[in-house]
Point group: C2
Chain length 675, copies 2
Amino acid sequence: MDVNLMNVLARVSKSATHAEMANAIRALSMDAVEKANSGHPGMPMGMADVATVLFTQFMKFDPADPAWPDRDRFVLSAGHGSMLLYSLLYLLGYPHMNRTEIERFRQLNSRTPGHPEYGHTPGVETTTGPLGQGLATAVGMAIAEKLLAARYGAGIADHRTYVITGDGCLMEGISHEAIALAGHLKLSKLIVLWDDNGITIDGKVSLADSVDQLARFEAAGWSASRIDGHDPKAIAAALEAAQSSKKPVLIACRTTIGYGAPTKAGTHAVHGAALGKDEVAGARAALGWTAAPFEIPDNIQKAWSEAAGYAAGAHADWTARYAKLDAATKARYDADLSGAIEPAVAAAVESFKKAASESGAPQATRISSQKLLDWLSPAQPNLIGGSADLTGSNNTRAADMKPVTPDDFSGRYIHYGIREFGMAAAMNGIALHGGFIPYGGTFLVFADYSRPAIRLAALMGIRVIHVLTHDSIGLGEDGPTHQPVEHLAALRAIPNLLVFRPADAVETAEAWELALQARSSPSVLALTRQNLPIVRRAHTTENLSDAGGYVLRAPEGERDITLFATGSEVSLAVEAAEQLANEGVRAAVVSLPCFELFAKAPAAYRASVIGTAPRIAIEAAVRQSWDIVLGPEDGFIGMSSFGASAPAGELFKKFGITVEAIIAEARARLAPRKQ
Amino acid sequence: MDVNLMNVLARVSKSATHAEMANAIRALSMDAVEKANSGHPGMPMGMADVATVLFTQFMKFDPADPAWPDRDRFVLSAGHGSMLLYSLLYLLGYPHMNRTEIERFRQLNSRTPGHPEYGHTPGVETTTGPLGQGLATAVGMAIAEKLLAARYGAGIADHRTYVITGDGCLMEGISHEAIALAGHLKLSKLIVLWDDNGITIDGKVSLADSVDQLARFEAAGWSASRIDGHDPKAIAAALEAAQSSKKPVLIACRTTIGYGAPTKAGTHAVHGAALGKDEVAGARAALGWTAAPFEIPDNIQKAWSEAAGYAAGAHADWTARYAKLDAATKARYDADLSGAIEPAVAAAVESFKKAASESGAPQATRISSQKLLDWLSPAQPNLIGGSADLTGSNNTRAADMKPVTPDDFSGRYIHYGIREFGMAAAMNGIALHGGFIPYGGTFLVFADYSRPAIRLAALMGIRVIHVLTHDSIGLGEDGPTHQPVEHLAALRAIPNLLVFRPADAVETAEAWELALQARSSPSVLALTRQNLPIVRRAHTTENLSDAGGYVLRAPEGERDITLFATGSEVSLAVEAAEQLANEGVRAAVVSLPCFELFAKAPAAYRASVIGTAPRIAIEAAVRQSWDIVLGPEDGFIGMSSFGASAPAGELFKKFGITVEAIIAEARARLAPRKQ
């Protein structure tokens, strides 16, 4: 036994045995699921030994300060086993986690919802439940740790990221993207404990899967081993070996699901339902657990409290090192960790807008975004860019961003590979970790691939920025597989997601500014492939997009008609309005770069923007979501089918999204009034 | 050299050399991309040797009958390399593929769109472009072949499925789901040719990936080897070895992207843009290609035509075997392949509806679906069920369905594993292959995972049925990660997708019938976890859901108000209407099980259903998409945020989706009129 392992084992409590400590998790989990008559007892009972060794002998954390930046991160990717985590947080004395909360498992407004929810329960590092995403999010956390260490040194950033996954996580496709990225980037402080219990909901894993997971992880550049997940010494030895790995580590923990349940252990019957009175009684007997439901014997609680104290010791050491940082470094670190936007950002946006308004040169908004990023990147040095292998198309790499490589994390640009979902989940992990503001690019149509992670970011309320280019049939020849038609609507349907579709370079800058300022919401920037005229020719310091929509062109006198549009269609609306003016029709043009912000604007403001004249909306996408301003009788010019492969100009004609079509629609709507 | 390989090599043409035949693909690809000034020349030029050997020495197909059921399937998973496929179809003499079409590459209404489109170009087996999905769809095709062989024998169903993938396909998460499923099911007739060129859009693959792909595939139960993708003998030897494999086969073909281009070959500059005049000239010189653009020398065309004739020989043999089938078997086979719905289905639906209406017993619609499937399954024996490891929750397994296992494909139920996306793509492949009608289950919230494949099914216009249960906050304690809120809207936004949300057992049967009848559309059935009362107490033979919506409850006399609802909220609307009747308010209730069908119903019918009274809609989801019946001033009772973890009844109260809330809203809307 080596010296390190002896040190680790020295943390083993004298107050209670390992089995007693692990059984505390099992008992709480059984009792909570039984009382709720809902939940998943099998995983917590199976992984109690692993979790006990991990939290009492290896993890560094401080229950008194769950937000301490250099804590080890723990991600329960198999989120349905939430009682494992809640039991740990309770036994370790985390804030707000008490017996009442455990007894209120899965009840309204408890701290113990069915799946762990970030922002809801201190000690929960990320919301999990949608399988595979916890693992992929943890990859982002491990990336963030290395980014931070490259900037501030190992004295300030030096923690591990531990993950518990189940079989489901490893079957999901996202797991491939996650482990390939982690292996490529040599994230050696990422340690995955796989609950290798051979059981899924439908029965045995062998019903549907034959993958040699150890070989698979090794093929992706991981170190992998298999242990008995009920042997505390084997668990400790594997975790100890993992501490010095040069690669990310998979530890396959052979466990019995529902360990202790007399008739259901080792079967899918114990996965996702209360055990029932008799089975609970049998399990208590088998485990030698005699305490009343929800009660923890003093010696066992004492042992857990000792473990919490030991784990917290590292916090004091870290604080001492932090205190010794020079003032400039400390200020930089505090700023990075605060998540605040630098004052220089507003100045960069202002200058960019002014230059764009004055120049008036047509530009694709993806290019505008890149040029702005060249200014934003030095202004906000904790911005971390990236793309899912479309750097030159998404225009996501700022001039001063050098790539992150496996051996050098001082860079600020991540080549995420052809992994849209993995990128989105990793960005969630980077944002959750703290210290950085991640953004990443792909085509808008592939938001379908990353959608589950975008949803999770919205649910968690975290700032992640998705740069989604090629935002309509305007991308042209690549055809309907690559042309988003329904994606704006589908994204606007997600609560707490800001979907921006800027009309020109000026609105692109405004959208970026708002996305950076949105501390509690992810954002999408839908940008064009094709050039757009500048419609905001008069410079304003004010961010007009902040209200979600505004009158871009007001006619003289009362409006005859109002044209609403976003993105590439705003300039069509402006041109139509100008031509209509020649016919004596007074058309207003409203640009609506962000429906979500417009919905939140004061009602009186909204009413003034919408006006009372007949309405036509123009967007090269489906009509759904446009009821934000349209009634059933109003006009819409857009798409009602998938697109086609042809040069962009021909497609706009084919699908009738043209200045002429707008004018014709306006005339048709005004004709009855003029008669 | 073994005898088989000698036979294969006997197919090598005497009219032209291998290099000449492969260079014909390269020249056409260069020329077409150059003329369009758009497209991807690198892959076709790199894989021309592999494709030439595959199509001239191994594939069986008949250009005169691209729909011959027992043809080998070819899937270009790296769909951006579409000119590879178009060149092959042209050289082999497929219908409608002529020089004009090649010259009109990527132009409006050509047969040669930017990415291969199923249903648009004969010989294109599936629409590809969204990376990874071609491979996953091919898995479904290979499954369908084994299902068919288990029913009709190897004389009738005995073909291979060949796939060309790029690095992108193998980085995408879906590739993991696909190869794990294929390896588990021992799909030994699936042969994947990986264009191992080491280049992606951003640069070298090594920028973002370090996976040992051969080891990875072997870990998933595949046979894997690496060859020089420019050596025709090595290609033939590897393909020959693959013919007798007991496992699915990966052949890594080391190629030079843009082979022949003098300065750009082997770099990402050749991936996705026209080569330019000078580079094309250089490539022609390097390849010794002297024919004019788009011209194929006679001897080379002759060689390709000979290859097509050889490949077609197998068709005549098959037809002879088919002719010898006994009449009953032939009738069964023809029925399966026709895609027709058996008359017994209508009878089963009718009986089920009648029994449900008469019984009136409350039932979760997921249970109704299962009970109906017990009747449908014997009535429609080519139905293939499955679930992404939620069989007991999705209630997708009919009583007479035994599972498909790696060694026995006579079953009809597929345990897809925890692979929602892989399942959806495999179902696309089963539907595209023909012979079967696939359906599969997961939770509605995880439609986000399978969404890219649902979209592709809608784009292709194929019949695939998604049974998506746990369709609202009504699932209760699992909480917001598992509660769909925006998913109905997001799915309704996809063109050509039928989204059904049935209100009770009767509408569930009607939805199933319509989904089965929809030959050119995929369907979603959104079903409840919780019990619902039967609202259709009066039996009708007519399928009322066929119009998408109908008046479920008409008050006596003129309507005061109309309540619109779907699924679990319909019974709330009915109860509210009954209570309002006690107050003298005449409320109609409209059930809207399918917005897409309602939108297609005649305008007069829709107007009669919608009526002119004030409107309130009720759905436990976001309002978006409800503008199908609501104007901005109308009422909506539903969700505007994510859900929460608690028992379902408490959640409906918390979010205000109750009979009381409907009544209050109705009173508020009627008050001004009554004053």
